[in-house]
Amino acid sequence: MASTPNPPKPIVVWITPPGPNSWKVIVVLEELSLNYRIHSFRFDDVKKPPFIDINPNGRVPAIEDPNTGITLWESGAILQYLIEVYDGAAHRLSYTGLAERHLCNQWLHFQMSGQGPYFGQAGWFQHLHAEKIPSAIARYTAEIRRVLGVLDGVLAKKAKAEGKAEGSAVWLVGDKMTFVDLAFLPWNFRLAEVLVQSWDEVWAGLPHVRAWHERMVELPSWKRSMEHRARLMDEQGLQWNGVPKGIETFTEYEEKIARGEDTTALGK
């Protein structure tokens, strides 16, 4: 791929503000300083046109890139696209070599299939489902600990192989931060909420993951991303869990959507 300048027309990113997956895309756009525009809309409308025509799966995020005419959905597919097309010359968050490229992809798929879905189910049973089912909460909490344990083991081994002291900068692939390190950030950022624990409890026994995560939380690109999120959550009158103010539970919210009620007025 020849060197690609910053796109002249903004890449449009369709998101609903609460969920973590959209922010994987935004933080990479921010980190690469790409020309983009957020199209924020309500969760009530994910299964309706025009969004359902963009993503038949009715889930955010999706992007439209007027510079190439391509429409894409699934955050992992979007990240691979952005990196190939817009980081293909400078390689700020990626590598040229075949091996490193595929090792990045390996971690991206692990994030997509191992971290996201299980952290998501834990969040659902812990916070959004009306009935408390202890065995389901235990199942997904255990899986979160397992995934974090795998990451900690890998980072620890890499620190040792690279002769680094505990807590110094180690990244999943090679010697620099890549898009795939950032891909883990939005879900890990929600762990205190998902597990209902203090950060010290969340990171107990996981010093390498903690140091890795805390390095990324300090990035200006992430801080800007979270400022956008706060503003867009506010704009829609959403509570921390994504439910509009004035509605008690997620179940109630889903029922209102199913009945075609306008939930906007409640939120404002």
Partner: protein, 253 residues
């Protein structure tokens, strides 16, 4: 293709994720060695395997890389991307990098990895393996799996080739196939989705896929089409004990 040297070694078991890779390798006509991993004996948690995949899951794959040293790969989606990127230079089951179809294949590949696989996996858990029967869990994940099947059904109903993207079978189809083929195990009658049902058979009719699905041992999921839910539940009993023991061991780590 002929001049590319490969030294592929696949570590796998008879699961929807494992057969993605063997079906792809057969479609590409690549030689490969197979080591069957015994999940019931937790071979995938042994140190030698964790050296290849620190996540302790199948499939994993090693190959001699272009620089002469070994590359280790895990996660079925990343393995598939590696194989077509390096070896499918004639684009038998892929599209040229950067083309529209290339990116559209990626949509479905990640959709399978992040959605269909994990959610149908949870449907299996609550339908067949959970220590207590939690109707809510069964419904939640069966409904989500049905929703995902409908998304795929709609896509296939609009397809001229009968495959998910463009005019040919791609890794998007192969990623989904093992899961959809085992729909009955998750408690979902596949015949409710006529295009999906026909797509399952269309892929089995390809000699390479037919060969690849039986690695490392015979694939039997399609035979479940004729079984009742009661028969399937009985068949699950043995696996249930092992799944629960394995979960208990994971929780201790």
């Amino acid at each position: 293709m002929a001049e590319t040297k490969s030294d592929i070694h696949l570590y796998t078991a008879q699961t929807p994720n494992g057969i993605k890779i063997s079906m792809l390798l057969e479609e590409l006509g690549l030689p490969y060695k197979v080591t069957a991993i015994d999940l019931q004996k937790n071979t995938q948690k042994e140190p030698w395997f964790l050296e290849i995949n620190p996540n302790g899951r199948i499939p994993a794959l090693t190959d001699t890389f272009t620089d002469g040293s070994t590359i280790r790969l895990f996660e079925s989606g990343s393995i598939m991307q590696y194989l077509v990127d390096r070896y499918d230079t004639e684009h038998k089951v892929s599209y040229p990098r950067g083309s529209r179809e290339y990116w559209e294949v990626n949509n479905w590949l990640f959709w399978q990895m992040g959605g269909l696989g994990p959610m149908q996996g949870q449907a299996n858990h609550f339908t067949r393996y959970a220590p207590e029967k939690i109707q809510y869990g069964i419904n939640r994940y069966q409904n989500e799996t049905r929703r995902l099947y409908r998304v795929m059904e709609t896509q296939l109903s609009k397809s001229k080739s009968g495959y998910l993207v463009g005019d040919r079978l791609t890794i998007a189809d192969l990623a989904c196939w093992g899961w959809v083929a085992s729909a009955y195990w998750a408690g979902i009658p596949l015949h409710e989705f006529p295009h999906l049902n026909a797509w399952v058979d269309r892929i089995v009719a390809r000699p390479a896929c037919e060969k690849g699905r039986h690695v490392p041992k015979p694939h039997t999921a399609l035979e479940n089409r004729n079984k009742t839910q009661e028969e399937l539940d009985k068949a699950a009993a043995e696996t249930r004990a092992w799944v629960q023991q394995s979960m208990a061991e994971d929780a201790k780590k």
